[in-house]
């Protein structure tokens, strides 16, 4: 433990030759209900490189949060992983026992959730919640615990005196930042964040994002950031992944995706967030609503709402095509041989 901490003080430098820290292959998550099975996540595959900031965006119900919890092995019944693998540090997390998972949890991969008021135990002080995470991983010296707790709080700009406070005594922004501090306890390689800014006002949102990015630059951890607000992550993320109806519809470097979105859905999304500096364009929404995932459509899932739908879209599910370093799940980009 001390050894790992010492490393972090100098900043983690993981050589690029290590390869991706996270490899998701054909991950599927289903909700097993009495009325039937709902496929929330359908064969999602992607890699995550060390220190990378990957943003996952999509509308409500597209499966992004479910995907996140599926990766972290934190699904609650009736949700369960129905197929695929999650390879983290060379091991498939889906197959691991609770005990083996526990060793990886928090030390190498930690989680930040949407509402700190709900994610922090209301009857324990902030410090106590830091403490039990550390003790679960073998840190027993109370000096070390106190010191580390104070350090992480200072990292996010909170006075360590608040270790004694209970969650309801802190402001919303402070709560959220203490959650991030808690996630940093072991300076893990990967921090997964599920809409951590949604519960905050706009100003606090930006400040929190900036804080996260600063920490990331200093400590070099990778981030998977789920949000429904595309503009929020447009400045901070390296890669952007757009999800629709449980599938990845488009994924690629953020700037490229923003500047020239390919998939009709992404086009619709970007047009819904007009730039404050660009020319005035009429606001267009995307008519219709997402499909019922208990009975997903035969072909492309976006076909019913797509302004550029073709005949084959309704019968064949499109694979992902690579276009200039971006993966798009759309037949518009099918130049024979370009399929992935």
């Amino acid at each position: 433990m001390a050894h790992a901490l010492a490393d972090d003080q100098h900043g983690v430098t993981s050589p690029r030759e290590q390869g991706p820290i996270l490899q998701i292959r054909d991950l599927s998550v289903e909700y097993v209900l009495e009325s039937g099975i709902v496929g929330a996540v359908d064969k999602v595959s992607f890699d995550l490189n060390p220190g990378e900031f990957l943003a996952i965006v999509g509308e409500s119900g597209c499966g992004k949060s479910t995907l996140l919890f599926g990766i972290a092995q934190l699904l609650n019944p009736p949700a369960e992983i129905s197929g695929g693998s999650v390879t983290f540090r060379g091991r498939n997390l889906v197959r691991l026992s609770d005990k083996d998972l526990a060793a990886v949890r928090w030390k190498n991969m930690s989680v930040v959730m949407q509402s700190a008021m709900n994610a922090l135990n209301p009857v324990k002080s902030v410090g106590a919640q830091f403490k039990d995470a550390m003790r679960a991983h073998g840190v027993t010296s109370s000096d070390e615990i106190d010191q580390r707790s104070a350090t992480v709080l200072r990292m996010v700009g909170i006075d360590p005196v608040h270790l004694k406070s209970y969650p309801h005594q802190l402001s919303g922004g402070m709560r959220q930042r203490s959650m991030i501090a808690m996630a940093m306890l072991f300076t893990p390689e990967l921090i997964i964040m599920d809409e951590p800014t949604s519960a905050l006002d706009v100003v606090a949102q930006r400040s929190l994002m900036a804080q996260i990015k600063d920490l990331q630059r200093e400590f070099g951890f990778a981030v998977i950031f789920v949000t429904h607000d595309m503009s929020l992550v447009s400045h901070y993320s390296n890669r952007l992944m757009v999800m629709y109806a449980g599938q990845i519809s488009e994924v690629g470097p953020t700037r490229d995706l923003f500047d020239s979105p390919r998939h009709p859905y992404t086009v619709g999304l970007t047009e819904a967030f007009p730039s404050i500096r660009g020319p005035k364009v009429p606001l267009t929404g995307i008519p219709g609503s997402p499909p019922d995932l208990a009975k997903p459509p035969e072909g492309c899932r976006f076909a019913p709402r797509c302004p550029q739908v073709m005949l084959r879209c309704e019968t064949d599910p499109p694979p992902q095509y690579e276009v200039d370093g971006i993966l798009v799940r759309c037949f518009l980009y099918d130049n024979a041989g370009g399929a992935r």
């Binding site: 919890f69 972290a72 934190l74 609650n76 019944p77 609770d98 998972l101 526990a102 060793a103 990886v104 949890r105 928090w106 030390k107 930690s110 989680v111 959730m113 949407q114 509402s115 709900n118 994610a119 922090l120 135990n121 209301p122 009857v123 324990k124 002080s125 039990d132 995470a133 679960a136 991983h137 209970y166 309801h168 005594q169």
Partner: protein, 326 residues
């Protein structure tokens, strides 16, 4: 803190309400309560006896009703609860003799039921979908609906009459002399087993069910997911994050349920001839012994109020949110 003081104040008001009920209820009925008592004494009684009885009831026809009322209040505050004519002793003495038995039986059993019940409920919720969870809740819904006294009678039938293992009556053997000897204590325990089993069987169900329902809801909370994410052991997640939060509504429910516990205890004592407070209360009914009835009612109410106050304190200790709300 302020919350506790407010509650204590409320309870004093409640006690006052009880006393007033005690005073006014018998007087609202046609006929004087003294008449009823006198009818038990078979035959003519002279005026001085009548007056003595009336005085013990707080009836003093030479005073106005309001001064009678205040005299009554004053007497109660000083511990003078009147004379129990069916027991031939001052009411306070009867109560002092019966109270320890009831406190022992009911107090211990209730705490046991609470601990066992909440544990079973928590485990059932943790193991949702298992055989344990599909059997326990219906079983306990069943036990909450059975009348206490009937269970007592059935247990007497099985263990006392048929099997002869345990005594079915009394809180201690007829001929045993009170002492701190092992045999006396053994005898006391012997007599306490069936009554407490009765109370336990019927009382535990409520705790199991409410705890399970609370736990099921609590376990879906984000902070429980967070605890798993941190790699904490299942035991720790279940206790520190799950049960500690799920039990809070139970504690407030504890206060509500005391009324039922008391009624059950009274009937159980009656069925088993267990000479505690409940037994004397029901006996007093048969004799129309109002002073004793009222005194016992008062003591029972006080005990319940103290218990509620204690559970409020426990909630304040366990839930930091209530402390600042105070």
């Amino acid at each position: 803190m302020r919350l506790i003081l407010r509650r204590a104040g409320f309870f004093l008001l409640t006690l006052w309400a009880c006393l007033s009920l005690n005073f006014f209820l018998p007087r609202l009925m046609p006929g004087s309560p003294a008449d009823r008592i006198i009818s038990h004494l078979h035959g003519a009684v002279d005026q001085s006896t009548v007056r003595a009885i009336e005085l013990s009831l707080g009836i003093n026809n030479s005073q106005g009703i309001w001064s009678q009322y205040f005299t009554y209040l004053g007497h109660t505050a000083t511990g003078n609860l009147g004379l129990s004519y069916s027991q031939g002793e001052p009411v306070s003495k009867v109560i002092a003799g019966a109270l320890p038995w009831t406190l022992g039986l009911v107090g211990i059993t209730t705490i046991l039921a609470f601990i066992l019940g909440t544990t079973i409920g928590a485990v059932a919720a943790w193991r949702r979908g298992s055989r344990f969870d599909s059997v326990m809740p219906p079983l306990f819904v069943f036990t909450t609906a059975i009348p206490f006294f009937w269970v007592g009678m059935v247990l007497i039938l099985i263990f006392s009459v048929e099997l002869g293992w345990l005594p079915g009556s009394g809180n201690v053997g007829q001929l045993t002399i009170p002492s701190f000897s092992a045999s006396y204590i053994g005898d006391v325990l012997d007599h306490a087993i069936l009554p407490s089993l009765t109370l336990l069987v019927t009382g535990i169900g409520g705790w199991v069910l409410t705890m399970r329902n609370n736990m099921v809801t609590t376990l879906t909370e984000d902070y429980v997911r967070m605890a798993r994410a941190k790699g904490l052991s299942s035991v720790r997640v279940m206790t520190d994050y799950g049960a500690r939060n799920a039990i809070l509504p139970n504690l407030t429910g504890f206060a509500m349920s005391l009324g039922f516990v008391v009624s059950g205890a009274i009937l159980v004592e009656y069925v088993f001839n267990y000479q505690g407070v409940g037994y004397y209360l029901l006996n007093a009914v048969g004799y129309d012994d109002y002073p004793l009835m009222q005194g016992l009612f008062l003591i029972i109410t006080m005990a319940v109020l103290i218990a509620i106050l204690l559970s409020d304190v426990a909630t304040a200790i366990l839930d930091p949110r209530t402390r600042t709300a105070g």
